[in-house]
Amino acid sequence: MALPAIAGAAAQLPTLPTLPSTGQIGWTGGTGPAGAIPPGDTVPAAGAANGTQSFGQTLTKALDSLQGAQANADRLAVSAATGDLTNVHDYMIAATEASLATELTVAVRNKAVESFNQIMNMGV
């Protein structure tokens, strides 16, 4: 089962800005928040430049992996039906893997939607 629509949509996702790394966490006395963004310093649009992956890229990679697992399970299911399957456990493992990968993707999706809804319901 291919998921080109979702994978395509994930590629279109705007890349989320990464949090600026300051190397200092928390508050230092009464002098205000440590690591506040200095004026003029723009938040990087995507972390791709410094080697980190944006959320969209990570999601696309995960979806690719899911698609690979499902394609593998499909291939083994076909070989089971045609009698070419030598190892029964190979198919069962591939099917379990595909099912787990789907569950993982759905869990990530649910978390992302949940976060989005919480932000949208934020009272300003």
């Binding site: 190892n87 493992i93 869990a107």
Partner: protein, 138 residues
């Protein structure tokens, strides 16, 4: 690799399934008679080796075991006096394979238990992964 435990357990399942295949081959040929001029049926033994040097389990790479070959038992077999056998030589001797059924049954049980153990590893790993996916769901 998304779920390395599955790959590792799958390689173990493959080894034990091959072992069961070898045992079934030996069992099927328990009474394979050859004339004394030929070699007897040789028992099949599965040669398994570990994949990698042991660091793979930590790094998530492919670990586990693989069948690297088949070695064969004694070609001389057992010489049995059976003059009525059409394959018997002038002295009435034929060659039976040197395969013991009790030994083969034991090997079969070990292979089956090993297969089951690897299946149970997969079940437990699946449960663990599913538990991890339910983090924060409650």
């Amino acid at each position: 690799m998304l779920f390395p435990t599955f790959q590792t357990a799958s390689s173990g399942l493959g080894v034990f399934r091959t072992w069961m295949d070898a045992v079934s081959d030996n069992m099927a040929n328990l009474d394979t008679v050859r004339p004394t001029s030929q070699a007897a049926f040789q028992a099949r033994f599965v040669v398994a080796q570990a994949i990698g040097g042991g660091q793979e389990a930590m790094t998530g790479g492919p670990a586990g075991a693989a069948v690297t070959g088949i070695s064969f038992g004694d070609a001389a077999g057992r010489l049995v006096h059976d003059p009525t056998n059409p394959l018997a030589d002038a002295q009435g001797m034929v060659r039976y394979p040197d395969v013991d059924m009790g030994d083969q049954m034991t090997q079969l049980m070990i292979a089956q238990r090993g297969y089951e153990a690897n299946l149970s590893v997969i079940d437990r790993a699946k449960d663990a992964y599913q538990q991890a996916l339910s983090i924060g769901r409650g």
